[in-house]
Symmetry: D2
Subunit: 345 residues, 4 copies
């Protein structure tokens, strides 16, 4: 049995585990007030070309979305996301739990359209009743998206422009940032994204770490600065890890010798091979997406046949007889695993 079920099913990249083993003789202060975190942050600042960035490490993606959105969205406002966005669908209401509505736009292969965002905001402010409604207070997008697609630099800049025109920060969920930025055809670098977004995170959980998300506040102006006493807000959400140095050690390893992006690229390489095979064999790709998530519309017999040998992810029913399934590679996927999958297709 092989598994292409998701990208968080293996503990961690060996270099990450080694980094932790290596520090196990030492004692460190708690809550991220340690030199390893400082070193990791310095490397991330450099990788982002953001020397003033304010960086905080959190444990997981839903947690990060909840903490950051709650902290940067005004109390009278909600967060704008596409309907398929993770906080809108798959976070058990974590955003609403923190008091904010998720305001939704249609998605286009998982992506937000800047013009639609503009139209939404213009309509909102033109409505004479808007004081009785939820203000758009923050823009959330993810890179790569729920459907594996990526934003071009121009697309993200356009969204940021609209967000800023309506006085909103742009928050980029980078749970799969590594996969997004190393995708074939992606025209954005990490410094590009760091220049465009006000706050974003570099996902570790799905790209080589045991766990961990590095939240980066660009800190170039008031809008992109970390909220006052952000550490206290993290704690208040139950999200402050006691042994913060474990997060530092992991990101230190991932941002040494470009490990993060090197292993991210592997997932895309394997996915590209699988996509080519699917196309060659006449399968229907549900979305055109260049990253590690492949959505494919399958009929029941094909699913039954495949699932005898490979674990896939369920996405949603397409129609009575077809289902969208997800084939997900990761930093850890081997050539052999990909070969076996292709042979089974």
């Amino acid at each position: 049995m092989i598994s292409f079920e998701n990208d968080y099913s293996r503990a961690a990249h060996p270099a990450v585990l080694d980094a932790i083993a290596r520090i196990n003789e030492n004692l460190y202060p708690g809550y991220g007030m340690d030199p390893i975190c400082e070193r990791a942050k310095a490397k991330i600042r450099e990788a982002c070309a953001l020397p003033e960035a304010d960086i905080h490490f959190l444990v997981g993606g839903t947690q990060t979305n909840q903490v950051v959105i709650d902290a940067v969205t005004p109390p009278y406002a909600g967060v704008v996301a596409v309907e398929s966005g993770h906080p809108n669908v798959h976070e058990a209401g974590a955003i609403e739990y923190s008091g904010h509505k998720v305001l939704t736009l249609p998605h286009h292969d998982g992506k937000m359209d800047a013009a639609e965002l503009d139209e939404y905001c213009a309509t909102f402010y033109a409505d004479g009743n808007h004081d009785h409604m939820v203000f758009p207070g923050c823009v959330y997008v993810s890179m790569s998206t729920e459907y594996g697609t990526v934003y071009s630099k121009a697309e993200l800049e356009a969204i940021a422009d609209v967000a800023h025109r309506y006085d909103m920060p742009l928050f980029v969920d980078g749970a799969r940032l590594g996969y997004g930025l190393t995708a074939t055809g992606c025209d954005m670098t990490l410094p590009d994204l760091a220049r465009i977004a006000d706050v974003f995170y570099i996902g570790g959980t799905k790209v080589g770490a045991m766990f961990g998300e590095a939240v980066v506040f660009a800190n170039r102006d008031a809008r992109s600065a970390a909220p006052r006493h952000f550490l206290t807000e993290i704690k208040q959400h139950g999200a402050l890890l006691a042994k913060g140095f474990l997060l530092g050690a992991q990101f230190d390893a991932l941002f040494t010798d470009d490990l993060y992006f090197r292993i991210a690229r592997n997932a895309n390489v394997q996915a590209d091979r699988i996509r080519a095979a699917l196309r060659a064999k006449g399968y229907t790709l549900t979305f055109e997406a260049p990253t590690n998530q492949i959505f494919v519309t399958l009929d029941r017999p094909t699913i039954d046949r495949l699932e005898r040998d490979v674990r896939l992810g369920f996405m949603e029913k397409a129609d009575e007889s077809h289902t969208v399934m997800r084939i997900c590679t990761s930093w850890a996927t081997t050539d052999e695993e990909t070969d076996r999958l292709i042979a089974l297709l």
Copy 2:
């Protein structure tokens, strides 16, 4: 200048003000623990044919939606409403503030469709990831709806059936219940509605009272019983009126000699006359609705002309050159006001 802007622009029906003036010589205990509230509740129970009903008086509609939905929806769940539903659009995020997501279905002239509710729930529970999503935990509909339409008995029963099959209470927002139940063609009585819904409220603010909504828990089984310590939850939401006897006095007046429904009917009679005039003059009614809210699609010159003499409500832009406006009658609308409006059309 006449006004058809909304149904809450006059202080109160004279009988309501008289009722308060009459009790002003007496002193009453606070927080609704007084004999006037008891008397009003008894009358409402009788009008509902619900001798066991548990009744609580609140001040306003958004407040009531927030308090009731929060109290009857499990913590891991959201409330299902149509997209146009008041809590989803015009309550400034009061539901999300209390921690619950509003799960939306399409609306059909403002109404929920039982089959779509069923499909939504079936899809939810069939999704292997549903533990990571927001459970549907309560069904919210309004009678009449945001667009002035009404549910038939069969429609509401079908929604209740689906709600109960998925272990949800059905909550009916009756901010305009008087207008809904007295509409031409409505086949439901108050006892019918009281038999179908698990909890609902009888709106006073828009039907003759200064303020006040009477929340009725049918209390026929566990699902329709008031939550434990509901009074404490009301207080916790800042929604407990110190002088509860003011609410009792108003509802006592409204439920004496059928005043509530008599004055509600007036709004529909006036609206029917306006609708007939609009049709006769070739106007485009945006919705077919039999209650006191008339939505009409107008061009700019017509709006400009009308607004010289009459205050209307803005609804939304229909297209570049047309706008949906609302003409709203109320319990207080006089024949003369209606005549003047018709003459202006």
Copy 3:
């Protein structure tokens, strides 16, 4: 049977009811966007000598405490109050419901001590772990207090000084402001209080209105300005009254010809007479307080005897055989009622 149970047991001062009856022929816009509210606000601004004040009308006291504290306290912070403070004891957790901790200081006959506030804050910021604790973010006091006592101008100024030194607004709950400011020996006027506090409210519910609290943001600097989109926050808390003009009309009446303070003074006059009688007859006053709430420690036989003819408020058990009871006068208490009570003592 006479009642000295509380100060919110009569509907309203006749002038207030008249004011509402007088406007019942007219139609007004909703949500406080009407000329009556404007007129009432102008009168309040003048009475406060705060021409720039930003004023909002809410319905009740707990609601006002919840909305204002939530709006002016940073998300990582709590509100500092004395242990006996209303939000800490008698609001069913409304402050915590909105996400903020009530940080408590000891009370001195219901009052906060500026030096203890200073010590609390100094200790907090000196604690190396304070980022893991709840920041003091707002100071709450009431005037008069839960025990009927009043702050002197110097005392309140000292509290404001400390609050400002630690970057906190001072919020004064004035549910009984009329009784506080007209008490014998009180050296503060409304303009004094308006100059010292950053935000406060003028309680109507307990001083002549049917309901209503006028929240005054002094608006003299950033700290005392109303939060952005405060109306939306009010709505979000379910606290925006549809017929806001009812609030305007009541406060317009109360701030015409000094009615508010004239009727407030009556309560203190009656209470002073009762206090004199109690002292003359050898009763034990629990607190030395000059306002309309008299706390007296009684033994069981006395309570039983009194309660045959007069309704009193229960406060708390003092010891095995004694109980603290409250005798509460109001704007509506008559000389005859006071005479009858004194005769019974």
Copy 4:
């Protein structure tokens, strides 16, 4: 420089790291739906002698307190804790953030007194205004406490009896459970505690794990059963770890061959040696406590001298010239470190 600053400054026990390294070749399903979690849970159930226990793994202590308290406390209620309790002091308001008040009792060397709890509840329910107050809805204690003390079996049973009499679950925070149960003089075993508490957790973060707390619902009756859809509530709080198998692997290692208690005992052994040395040298122990946290009242010169060579924890100022400092041993403290510290005293 040696450190006795806290018990979470080393990454993890080698056996824990080995366990993770060993599973790194395999792929596992996410969110704790894996066989390693199942195995760990089976071992914990056996160690607790609770074959029906419902076990959930969370990441950290504040998070666990927030999630569990929010899930088991009714919406109209708060959690009762001693004033020095962690959720009341050092969780940045995480409990209030989730909407619940922390109701406090005095502490006795960090412990709750059952009689005082009883008195608190009796007084609450005897108060005629208790519907306007926060109901006591859950009892929180920790074992060991903030001051390193432990409950005897009789003390904990007495607290459970009172809690149950007032319809509250007893929740035991076991962040330092290992240190509490292996302390000299502790008369409770894990099965004892599991029989008395309704829900508790076994702290991993401070006892050998990298992170992780095992929440155990005793599941012997309705009161001790896990709330419905508890996994969804965990997710909603942002507390569901994607790679749940990491938690399973750590607890599997800790509950193999009694590792958890064996290493916990080491901390107490080292602490006992330090305590003996302190007493021998005439130091003032602030509390009599038998676990890994030693509180000692020191003057400034002594602190300055010690801090040249050893990192201690700051607790609080005792008076002008003295400070309470914490000496904290852990599962990892070596004989050599203890020797060095003793030599420095």
